[in-house]
């Protein structure tokens, strides 16, 4: 058990190290930041001075070392574009993305699991068919189209919800939140639905197929043959066995919400890290891109690790077994 945890922890660190290397190495060779920063009017001397200042003339390994040791101290370099520490910019934008991701994840999990269980128990019926058909449409709809559609209906036609931005935010010192103001909540509704819808359909379909599989198992048939009430069979026996494998995949899905928010943030001009990332790709702003990547990896690895531990805690088959 402990060796298992240590093994997973070691793997997580390895993943972080590798993504760190990849992130840095890749962006180091992509584009020329100096060109982007100085524009057309520049002299050789200016270029050279800036390259020296940014450390771009050092050997690759020295730069990577600088990057890693800096990263450990919380120094991810200075944004080529804004001239401010990259991490500072990212952290400034992080609350917006996290609030959006959290609300969407809650929506996706709650409705995904509920609908999944419902459609697995009621195999036929108008409601089930409706949910299943709309889920297929949901998977086929690109996120950005959902966003545009919602904007068209609720902002352009009905004019009830804002189409861009975050509304008023309250600064809590280390966190600025939009959840405490009316305009903030109004602004959150459309982006959260947009972002959560796709994940919700995925989770729903996953829960449905897992649960259908569980319901075909011998122990469910045996439970029925013992005369247990249908409710106990579905909710005590089937749902619990369904949710164990679902946790892993759902955990990963929730992790990817943070990355998927790039699209939603672009459609709604939501001032989060995703929008920042798209901007920095266009300007080849390496430190910001690298910080974003590292941040995403830390979050993914963290979620993965937690999911793994949850799995271990729930499934008795994975715990150490003694005696026969």
């Amino acid at each position: 058990m402990i060796s298992h945890i240590l093994k997973r922890a070691f793997q997580s660190v390895l993943v972080l190290f590798v993504t760190g290397l990849v992130a840095f190495a890749m962006f180091r060779f992509v584009g020329d930041p100096v060109e982007n920063m100085l524009g057309q009017e520049r002299t050789e001397a200016e270029v050279e001075r800036l390259r020296e200042q940014l450390g771009l003339n050092d050997p690759f390994l020295v730069q990577y070392w600088d990057f890693i040791s800096g990263a450990l101290r919380g120094d991810m370099g200075v944004s080529f574009r804004q001239g401010r520490p990259a991490l500072e910019i990212i952290l400034e934008r992080l609350p917006a993305t996290l609030e959006l991701a959290l609300v969407s994840a809650l929506l996706a999990m709650t409705f995904g699991i509920l609908f999944g269980i419902f459609t697995a128990i009621r195999r036929k019926g108008v409601m089930t068919n409706f949910i299943l058909t709309s889920s297929l449409v949901g998977v086929s709809l690109p996120t950005f189209l959902i966003g545009i559609f919602l904007i068209y209906v609720f902002s352009v036609e009905l004019k009830v919800l804002p189409s861009f931005g975050r509304g008023d935010v309250i600064d809590l010192g280390w966190w600025d939140t939009g959840l405490l103001t009316w305009t903030g909540i109004q602004s959150l509704i459309l982006p959260a639905i947009t972002l959560g819808l796709y994940q919700m359909t995925l989770i729903m379909r996953l829960v449905r197929s897992e649960m259908s599989e569980v319901l075909r198992q011998d122990y469910i048939r045996f439970a029925r043959a013992r005369g247990l009430p249908e409710k106990a069979i579905n909710f005590r026996h089937a749902v619990k066995n369904t949710l164990i494998p679902v946790i892993t995949v759902a955990g990963l899905q929730i992790g990817s919400i943070i990355a998927f928010s790039i699209i939603t943030e672009t459609v709604f001009q939501w001032p989060g890290v995703g929008l920042l990332f798209i901007d920095s790709i266009q300007f080849v702003d390496i430190p910001v891109m690298a910080s974003y990547l590292m941040l995403i990896s830390v979050m993914f690895v963290g979620i993965n690790f937690l999911v793994d531990m949850a799995y271990l805690a729930i499934d008795p088959r994975l715990r150490e077994s003694k005696g026969h």
Partner: protein, 305 residues
């Protein structure tokens, strides 16, 4: 002939004939694909021929003759007077080309790596599957974006637009191979344990003979399902990247690029510039997805109920 007869008598075909959803989505998908292939013949205008463009046709409404020029457009015209219907036909060509090419690219890599890791086992398998795990930690759209960004950085500026389509194919393909590799590996591991593989060893088949003559034909049906669903995902991914401005170049607009352009006119009332490309994309992705969904159920009899 034997093959054709077998195909028509097969359970798959039976299930196809008895699924209205499958038939409709098949017809829609094939119609759209044919329309894209024969775009040069079907399109009333060539949207990329500057000579045929008339700026005065800009913002013509659908089916209403333009007040200045008298030209009429089935789905209206965009800001520069381009026929929306024609741009959709050409845009679909690019979307479908990128989609198919990316899936084939991912499929080939995935099958080779999946079969290799299942058959070789040991360290080879561990390395391949660890790479797959790490990549799977990141959503494919992000991976595609990264690959696109890097490749773009490596391409000389004057070639960027020309190379963009190929870069797009590679980045979507690279973001999607893991699916194939995992499915192929999983299915191949099951097949490898079956006794017909042991029988093949006994009669003296070498590893290549076993993998290609025996295992590969038996893992193709799940691959077919994943390929269909991946096609829908690849078309969506291409549209998403192009919508975000990191995909197809403005000189070769795909459906995603058209939607990106159309979004700008959402508030000013020129809905058709956005609406028709969006509907086309939706129909394309939905029909392919429905086909994949039906295929999965049809090839997996235990899901029947």
């Amino acid at each position: 002939m034997d093959m054709v007869k077998r195909a028509f008598e097969s359970d798959l075909f039976w299930s196809f004939r008895h699924s209205p959803v499958a038939i409709i989505s098949f017809v829609v998908a094939v119609t759209l694909i044919l329309a894209a292939v024969f775009a040069p013949l079907l399109a009333p205008y060539n949207p990329f021929d500057p000579g045929s463009l008339n700026l005065m046709n800009g913002f013509s409404q659908p089916m209403v003759p333009n007040a200045l020029t008298g030209d009429s457009f089935l789905m209206g015209a965009d800001d520069q007077g381009r026929d929306v219907f024609s741009t959709i036909l050409y845009g679909m060509r690019i979307s479908l080309f990128v989609g198919f090419a990316a899936v084939i690219f991912a499929l080939v890599i995935g099958i080779i790596l999946g079969l290799t890791s299942a058959y070789a086992g040991g360290r080879v398998e561990a390395i391949i599957m660890r790479i797959a795990d790490v990549q799977l930690t990141f959503p494919s759209i992000l991976v595609a974006m990264l690959v696109f960004g890097i490749a773009k950085g490596f391409t000389p500026v004057h070639l960027r637009d020309q190379m963009a389509i190929w870069v797009l194919i590679v980045s979507i393909g690279l973001s999607d191979w893991v699916q194939f590799a995992r499915v192929v590996r999983g299915a191949a591991l099951v097949e490898k344990k079956k006794e017909y593989v042991e029988a093949a060893i006994l009669i003296g088949r070498g590893p290549l003979g076993i993998v290609f003559r025996h295992i590969l034909p038996n893992v193709l049906s799940p691959v077919l399902v994943i390929a269909t669903i991946s096609l829908a995902l690849a078309i969506i991914a291409e549209a998403t990247l192009s919508f975000l401005g990191v995909g197809a170049p403005p000189t070769e607009p795909s459906l995603g690029t058209l939607i990106r352009i159309g979004q700008g006119y959402l508030f000013s009332g020129e809905w058709w510039i956005l609406f028709f490309p969006a509907m086309t994309l939706l129909m394309l992705a939905l029909s392919v997805n429905l086909l994949g969904d039906w295929l999965r159920d049809a090839l997996n009899p235990k899901l029947d109920d």
